[in-house]
């Protein structure tokens, strides 16, 4: 069975809350998901996300996002909002990887539908742990990612 939906966590676990995407993927590892759903630790893979997106019918991205909301807030972000926010250098905590991958994919017409779940970070200190408020959001973000993925899976299969 080819995986149809990718849940992709991105971020750097060495930079505090920037690692939230990866922590969500770790949280989901034990959940026994349908085999059509693949979990991906996208790390800081930058523009290589372009290739990663091409593997799936639908991608669900989990990332730390500076949205000006209280730390730990979970917010669904549309890909076109990433564009706008990244232009102001406000969105992605790491390089322009996610933004460039989405842009390249849309210009070259290779981009699958993408759902982005953003989590407002509190700090990007050089530490391995999440802040308490972001850490408290991890389980809920994981649940949301599954619900989005399973809902999409129903559409993809039917």
């Amino acid at each position: 069975m080819r995986p149809r939906i990718g849940i992709i966590g991105i971020g750097n676990t060495l930079l505090g809350d920037d690692g939230v995407g990866i922590r969500v993927i770790e949280e989901l590892r034990d959940r026994g998901l349908p085999e059509e759903i693949e979990l991906v630790d996208g790390g800081t893979c930058g523009v290589d996300l372009f290739y990663l997106f091409q593997r799936y019918d639908v991608a669900v991205v989990v990332d730390a996002a500076r949205m000006g909301l209280p730390p730990g807030t979970i917010h669904r972000v549309r890909p076109e909002e990433v564009t706008r926010l990244a232009d102001e250098q406000a969105f992605s905590v790491h390089d322009l990887g996610l933004w460039e991958a989405i842009q390249l994919g849309s210009v070259l017409h290779t981009l699958p539908p993408i759902h982005i779940i953003g989590v407002e970070p509190e700090q990007y200190n050089k530490q391995h742990q999440l802040s308490e408020r972001v850490s408290n959001s991890v389980e809920m973000v994981a649940q949301l990612a599954i619900e989005v993925a399973e809902c999409e899976l129903g559409d993809v299969i039917s």
């Binding site: 060495l14 790390g43 800081t44 893979c45 930058g46 523009v47 290589d48 372009f50 290739y51 460039e100 842009q103 390249l104 210009v107 070259l108 050089k126």
Partner: protein, 437 residues
């Protein structure tokens, strides 16, 4: 007249990491001309202390997501040299092959994604994808091939997991090698197209001869190993690397500055090309000829052209290495065990941006002292020397053009600033009032 220029370019774009350029010219005299590395140091050398020889490569791989294979290789070679481990012939072939994969990954990223927009008049690769779709698709095809080559040999497209002191924990299948070989064959046409594109670009006319330092081998274009070679003083044993790097802390930068026989020297694709041109394979020499790249070449803006040549070399030599591997058969091999648990060893490897050194001291299988010298750190003093030489030649130009030229110069070196900080913003510190127009 052009009395004064003040530039402050904060965070030079399209380079890896954060750096600033500051230029201050008064009455035609340069008062300041600096490339500041402002990223915080990360103290990997301290993190290594107390760690087992089995962990060192996986830790240092994380110094960089662009040259993780290079760090892994330098780390493994330092450990093997310290602990008396002799890798097998198959291991050497696989390591050389995956290094070619990373050279391709990194150079293609720089040539097409970071440098090409400058020459094709686009702010980034995104608008380029609209106006030059075929060019961007070619770039993406080459990058994917390089990723897949690294994945095939190292078990992952970055931060290889199969590479260990003493060998590989898994080896590629013949079918996997054949599949990549076919794509490398097809990539030769893409490399010719890359050279044709580059030949049409308007590269700034600028020359400043400097000392070029690289590894050198009599029998091949040195990437994996070799002796140290300076264009000024010839061959040196790798054990003398400190004499050829002389790292110094400078106040304005979190990257140390390096010098050997002059105030600065260059490492990287252009240095290797100048020092080792005669060891390039015929295909790479054809590509150099296609771009009319002279030997030696003293124009740092042509570093990108030298990267195109090295990509061609990596493609053609990658095919040759795969043929050798397929010819002899690829077998899983046990890791070669260490002969001792104490000792000191140096791994010097040519990674995309120049020579990378890892130097470890071991006691009882654990690291007691580590020293890592990163290529960009070696180049920073030379970039500044180029800037000081270039600025007076372009003072007549409008400020925006001067800034663009300086950013292009810095980008030409393809600096990897996170690694050396141990980024770039160009800071113009003000043209005088009358010059603002």
């Amino acid at each position: 007249m052009h009395g004064a220029v003040q530039l402050n370019i904060h965070h030079v774009t399209r380079v890896e990491g954060h750096g600033n350029i500051t230029v201050n010219v008064r009455d035609g005299e340069i008062e300041e001309c600096r490339l500041e590395i402002v990223e915080s140091p990360r103290f990997f050398e301290v993190m290594l202390q107390g760690r087992s020889y089995r962990d060192a490569a996986h830790i240092t791989s994380r110094i960089c997501g662009i040259c993780s294979v290079g760090h892994t290789t330098a780390s493994i070679r330092a450990t093997e040299s310290a602990l008396g481990i002799e890798p097998t012939e198959q291991t050497l072939l696989l390591r050389k092959l995956i290094l070619h994969g990373e050279t391709l990954q990194s150079h293609i990223l720089h040539i097409y994604f970071l440098a090409a927009p400058d020459f094709l008049g686009a702010p980034s690769v995104i608008p380029l994808a609209r106006t030059h779709t075929d060019v961007v698709l070619r770039a993406l095809r080459l990058k994917k091939l390089a990723n897949d080559l690294c994945d095939l040999i190292g078990g992952r497209s970055v931060h290889p997991v199969a590479m260990m002191p003493g060998g590989f924990t898994s080896v590629p299948t013949i079918a996997g090698l054949q599949e990549v070989r076919a794509r490398l064959e097809a990539a030769m046409a893409d490399m010719v197209a890359t050279a044709e594109l580059f030949a049409t670009l308007d590269i700034p006319k600028f020359e400043r001869e400097t000392e070029y330092i690289s590894l050198k081998r009599p029998d091949e274009y040195a990437f994996y190993d070799g002796e140290l070679y300076s264009s000024d003083t010839g061959i040196h044993p790798v054990s003398h690397y400190r004499r050829l790097t002389n790292e110094q802390v400078v106040q304005r930068s979190t990257a140390k500055h390096a010098h050997a026989n002059r105030d600065s020297f260059a490492v990287g694709a252009l240095a290797r090309y100048n020092n080792n041109f005669d060891r390039l394979n015929p295909f790479a020499k054809e590509i150099a000829d296609e771009m009319s790249l002279p030997v030696p070449c003293f124009n740092p803006f042509m570093t990108t052209a030298a990267q195109v040549v090295e990509c061609a070399h990596a493609v053609a030599d990658g095919i040759a290495l795969i043929d050798e591997l397929i010819g002899r058969g690829v077998q899983p091999e046990p890791l070669v065990q260490s002969a001792r648990l104490d000792g000191q060893g140096i791994g010097a490897v040519e990674v995309p941006r120049g020579i990378l050194y890892h130097d470890y001291q071991y006691a009882d299988g654990r690291i007691t002292r580590a020293n890592c010298i990163i290529p960009t750190g070696q180049n920073v003093a030379n970039i500044e020397a180029d800037m000081r030489f270039l600025v007076p030649q372009i003072l007549d130009k409008p400020e925006a053009e001067i800034a663009q030229n300086l950013e292009m110069l810095v980008r030409a070196y393809d600096p990897c600033i996170s690694c050396s900080a141990h980024m770039l913003d160009v800071k113009f510190v003000g043209k005088s009032e009358g010059e603002q127009s």
